[in-house]
Structure formats: C-alpha cells, structure tokens
C-alpha cells in the first residue's frame, strides 16, 4: 500500500467517524445537578414558609413578618427561570416556570392584600404551590434519562 492510498483511507475513515459522531439528536436541555438542587431547596423553602405560618397564631401571621421569606423564594424562582431561559430546547420548561411564578406571585399578593391568612388558606396554598413545584422537579430529573448512555 502506498502512502497516498493509506492517507486517503485514513482521511475517509476520519471523515465518516466525524460525521457519524456529530449525528446526534437533541430534543431536551442537558441535565443540571445545580438546577435540581436549586429547585429542591426553593420548593422546600416554600413548603416551610406555610408550615411555619401554621405554627403561629393567625393574628401574628402578618405579611410583614413573612415578607423577607416571600422575597427570597421569589428571587429563587426568578433565578431558576433565568437559567431555564438560557438553555436550548427550553419551551416546556418555560411554561412550567411561568405557571409556578404566577401562582407564587398570586399567593404573595393575597397575603399582602389581606395582611394575614386563615388556617384553611395556608393549607390550600401549601398544597397548590407544591403542585406547581413538582412538575419542574420531575422535568429536571427526566433529563437524566436523556443523558444516560444516550448522549
């Protein structure tokens, strides 16, 4: 085999290998352990906000006394939203994020407008907001599937 033929074959092999290795599909964003952690912590903070409210008398449950915690959770939701906006293939995530943000904003405004929350209202918000957090967490975990052996 001459050197020319050898080089030509090597080039062809290299070209095919490069073409096939780049021929991968990508329909979802890449999994982020950091985002999973952030979602878990913010969901826990939301849950704890309402658990702590139930622990004190209704008249002490003022918006002012929980304002800081509402703002911290809101900032976390905004941060998660921003990170999702920066990811490719993010359409489904953005809708889940939008629904969560709107629900949290409504809960915060309700407390602010009514200055306190009744026990029933606290329990209902705790359950509903957990319902909004869960799809975001499940969706992030689902991305692990795409990464396992497939990418």
């Amino acid at each position: 085999m001459t050197i020319q033929i050898f080089l030509r074959r090597i080039s062809v092999i290299f070209l095919i290998a490069c073409t096939l290795s780049s021929c991968r599909v990508s329909w979802v964003p890449e999994y982020s352990a950091q985002l999973e952690d952030q979602i878990t912590k913010a969901a826990k903070a939301t849950d704890k906000l309402y658990i702590d409210m139930l622990d004190i008398p209704v008249n002490s449950r003022t918006y002012e006394s929980f304002k800081e915690r509402y703002n911290e959770i809101e900032a976390e939701i905004n941060s998660i939203k921003l990170k999702n906006e920066a990811r490719p293939k993010n359409a489904d995530f953005l809708i889940i994020n939008k629904n969560l943000k709107e629900a949290f904003d409504e809960a915060k405004m309700y407390h602010k407008d009514n200055s306190t929350l009744a026990n029933g209202e606290v329990k209902a918000y705790q359950a509903s907001l957990a319902g909004f957090w869960k799809p975001l967490y499940v969706a992030e975990l689902a991305l692990k599937v795409a990464g396992k052996g497939g990418k």
Binding site: R9, R24, A127, G131, L136, V138, G150
Partner: protein, 106 residues
C-alpha cells in the same frame, strides 16, 4: 466486513425498542404520581370548603390553579417522553455508527 443495511436497521430498531421499553415505566409512574397528588389536593380543598375554612371565591381560585398545574404536569411528561425518545434515537445512531466503522476496510 461488508455493510449489511438490513441487519443494521434491525439492530437499530432493537436498540430503540430496548431503550423505550426500559424507560416507559417511568412515564407511567410519573403520570400516576401526578394523578394521586391531584386527588389528595382536591380532597383537601373540598374538605376545607365543606368545613368553611376557605371561602367559595378562594376555593374557585384554587380549582382554577388545578388547570395550570395540569398544564405543567403535561409539559413535564412531554419532557420525559422527549428525553426517552432522544436516548432511543441516539442508541440507534450509535448502532449505525459502529456498523459503518466495522465495514470500513483498513
């Protein structure tokens, strides 16, 4: 080694089937979990309303939330199915890549 397209396509199909089969239970389990937590939530909301712990207006707002939660859940399931499809497609492409590499004479 000769490149057998029929054999390769059959192997690609096998890779897709195995990947989907191995992960399909996740879709079912996720949908069931969403369904169960919805049931628990609706039970709680109904009991809070029946015991007059929340007003009718507040109750209806939380029921409206359920529509949005369902929308989010469906998008989460869509992400899961897309992730499974992506893994299956890439497994099939790996089979093709290996078959072509084997068939190239050195």
């Amino acid at each position: 080694m000769a490149f057998d397209i029929n054999e390769t396509v059959a192997q690609m199909l096998g890779a897709v089937k195995t990947t989907v089969k191995d992960n399909w239970s996740m879709v079912k389990e996720t949908a069931n979990t969403f369904l169960q937590t919805r049931k628990d939530r609706l039970e709680l909301l109904a009991s809070l309303r029946l015991s007059d712990e929340i007003s009718q207006k507040f109750f209806l707002k939380r029921v409206a939330d359920e529509k949005k939660i369902l929308e989010s859940e469906l998008h989460a399931v869509a992400i899961l199915t897309k992730a499974i499809a992506q893994k299956a497609a890439n497994a099939a492409l790996d089979v093709l890549s290996k078959a072509v590499a084997k068939a190239i004479p050195f």
